[in-house]
Amino acid sequence: MSDFSAIDHGQEAEFGDYVQLLKPRVMSLVVFTAMVGLIVAPGHVHPFVAFTAILFIALGGGASGALNMWYDADIDRVMRRTASRPIPSGKVGEGEALGLGLALSGLSCLMLGLAANWFAGLFLAFTIFFYVVIYTMWLKRLTPQNIVIGGAAGAFPPMIGWAVVTGGVSIESLLMFALIFMWTPPHFWALCLFMKDDYSKAGVPMLTVTHGRPATRKHILVYTILLAPFAFALAASPIGGPVTLVVALVLNALFIRGAIRIVRRDEAAAEADGYKAEKAFFKFSLAYLFLHFGALLVEASLVPFGFGGW
């Protein structure tokens, strides 16, 4: 009976492979920042509507992840870190990823529009468009500043969460955007320094390849310094408060100290201790973002007790 072996190519996808297409680790960051944006916004939405909205913002983020994996399958095949992703490993077909990404994009924007408001739904659609078309298809392979542009896509979720409640944009939501936007380049370039992905072979103009590692170290410091004013502006805004200000002071001082350590080292020193400072900086960058948004959450939850905020 040869019919059976004809379809047994041993690469049939599991449910989890489709989940992997949605980049669940990126989705967890989207869920957290969108949730903070939604909670700190002035006004009230029904808790079930809020839950649904965050779910569909996350799904929209996942859809853009699937579209990114569809378009970048050629790069992912070449690089060791990404070679085991569902498409390069042969578990999921490119057409399947494209179909899943498009279907989930449409579903998530439509459902967010129906559950919350059409401004939020359109904002999510714009975010997906920005990440997939502007970043993935256009600028990622064109400019060494690709991470800066990609960071913008990752910075939209708290603004969408804010828009779910308010139906618009305001200075506070723009400051939340600015914090993630300025944070992304130092966060990612630190990863580039110690991961040593083969971007040149994949044809992606990563800063470490085009301008060299010493220039990348300088870029990390410059962006870390430029990030601090936005953190303080956010702390001074109506959604900030004393807690956020103290958190911002401590975190930015530590973050800049880490960046100075990175810029003072050369490759030989970094090789010698296995990129210890770079890895520490990368780990701290995750805590930096989490604690900043956590502080905003604390501020909002203290308000009913007469504390929190200015």
Binding site: M1, F4, I7, D8, G10, E12, A13, E14, F15, Y18, G43, H44, V45, H46, F48, V49, T52, L55, L114, A115, N117, V165, T166, G167
Partner: protein, 54 residues
């Protein structure tokens, strides 16, 4: 003659179908819940948008 023996591929397919079934079930429950919330607001005499504006 029926093929009786299950291949490892069948287990993967079963998992996939089960997962998709659960996702679709969750989507139905979600839309139902959302409808209940929205419609009960209408019954109370105010649109959800009005509540946002408050």
């Amino acid at each position: 003659m029926a093929i009786r023996q299950d291949h490892e591929i069948h287990a993967r397919r079963k998992g996939r179908n089960l997962g998709l079934g659960l996702v679709l079930g969750a989507l139905v429950a979600l839309i139902f819940g959302l409808s209940v919330v929205k419609i009960s607001h209408l019954v109370e005499g105010k649109l959800p948008e009005e509540e946002v504006a408050q």
